[in-house]
Amino acid sequence: MSVTVPMDGPWLDEAAGRLIRPYTVSGGRTRPTAELDLMSLVMATGAASQMYFGPEHSEALGLCQGPTSVAEIAGHLRLPAVVTKILLSDLMDSGAVTVRPPHNFDNPSDCSLLEAVLDGLRRQL
């Protein structure tokens, strides 16, 4: 049996998998209190929180000083998306972050939006 300790990732055991169960950091909770999408944008409000949070909460808060997607925060934390959503919903409940839900492109006639995307892409070339 060997334990891999990567520089930046969950501790993995060859046979057992993750050494820390994914829901440990959420205190065993498996559902966030708020509906969050992978593309919801999260930003710290700067308000001091009265609630006690663990180190993962602090790390998550540190990652969203500017508007940052849930997917990106999860990627940096190396935590599953659902666990990240639980941490972020805690921060929302405490007032430490605000969230903007993603734009759902359910209006296919939104020509101006597509044109903005096209212009933005062409500037990358």
């Binding site: 903007r100 759902n104 006639s109 070339l125």
Partner: protein, 217 residues
Amino acid sequence: MAYDDSSDSFPTPFPTALKVLVAGGFGVGKTTFVGSVSEIAPLSTEELLTQVGAETDDLTGVELKTSTTVAMDFGRITLDERHVLYLFGTPGQERFWFMWDELCRGALGAIVLADTRRLENSFSAVDFFEQRGIGFVVAVNEFDGSFRYDPEEVRAAIDLRPDVPVVICDARIASSGIQTLVTLVQHLLTAVPGGPGQDDAVVQRDDGVPLDGQVSL
């Protein structure tokens, strides 16, 4: 509030987050594509999946419960101060496709990457987007050593509708990936009712004289 919200046109500091999916079979270059166009280092997001054994009434059923993870690559392109585009590489294994419904929600469109050595691996992604009415383009990722096909040959092999663009790309090169995204958005614009593509196709006659709205198809 600490941020400046004086702008009338955009009262919050949040840009509009938009999403494009990058699909295709296993090993077709989705991770490479997302990584090369992204302005951030390639990241992957894990989803935890819980699969419960069929005999859930059995008290011993919990022993059959296993959790597995699916990783999705994602990247980001800041288009301007008000629009951010996120790219999601979809899970390649077909058994995880139920996840696609969530991923597809609100997506602008999709890029289906294809490898000419294994074109059949792209069929299911094409079917998926066709059935859901999600606009997509097929991008043939030209691997070293693969036979070069004409895009029209690829179209025939996949049995694509004539309006779906087929482009050749090199997933390793950022500008090639961006150009593929440009083609996708241009294609999406042609499908917009009253958009520029429709103007060309429907509102103008062959001689360029605009019709006065009495178009019957």
